[in-house]
Amino acid sequence: MFVVDTTADGRRIRFSANLSLLDRAVDETVAFLRTRNATGRLFEVQLLLREALVNAVRHGSRLDPGRTVSLEVATAPDRLHLVIADQGPGFDWRARMADKPSPTATRGRGLCILALYADELAFNEAGNAVRLAKRIPGLRGPASPADRRGQALGEDKHGGDSH
């Protein structure tokens, strides 16, 4: 299952918890951000997306395709907002955030990367949803004149892409 909905501020993507669909969710999001004037490689945005989604797919959902991961993408001028949620029980994010991996540890760096690269990072109490914000210079919000023109011309027909 992979569903993309258009929302007032951007996109909502829901997908079955597997890693191939995670890749697709990242690609869809990057393509959408390009339509909102995001330029460059978007390395840090892709990294944030991947770490939050890997956490939801691998740990939150335990790679169970019967579980759904959701990604909400909202743009504002110069700022991206993301909410990633899974249907798992969550985790003790306070303890994990305080637990720094040893230099030779082969796991446990995802939360460090989120904390280092996000401008804002907040988990819900249970730990099965995370909200991120990232500054992207030049990013447009949904109400920009260019967007309104695009919608008037019927360019924004991405919603309901269900597979």
Partner: protein, 101 residues
């Protein structure tokens, strides 16, 4: 599909794309085979790699840990500046030998 070459007595492993969770299991297995077939110095050429996530970093550290047991060190070649920044931020430049693209 990655390429393997032997240069100056060392094995060079060249992934053909990003080192991320969706391909990590296959690459980990392939890298293990390569290290078994070609023991000794190992470099990973990242010329075609634009992004490495935490799962990919774990894979590189596992390879480095194996090499370190024999007194070796993982060499990363042609590392994109963004990736270089990530690896340095995670203080992994103290373990890997990083050669910037």
């Amino acid at each position: 599909m990655e390429e393997i070459r032997i240069e100056d007595g060392r094995t060079v492993f060249c992934p053909s794309g990003d080192i991320v969770a969706s391909m990590a299991d296959a690459m980990r297995s392939r890298l293990r085979d390569v290290m078994h077939e070609h023991p000794g110095p190992l470099a990973i050429d990242l010329a075609q790699v634009e992004l490495i996530d935490s799962v990919g970093i774990g894979l590189l550290i596992a390879a480095h840990n194996t090499l370190a047991k024999a007194g070796g060190r993982l060499i990363l070649e042609h590392v994109h500046p963004d990736l270089c920044g990530l690896l340095r931020t995670m203080r992994l430049d103290k373990h890997f030998q990083i050669e910037v693209a």
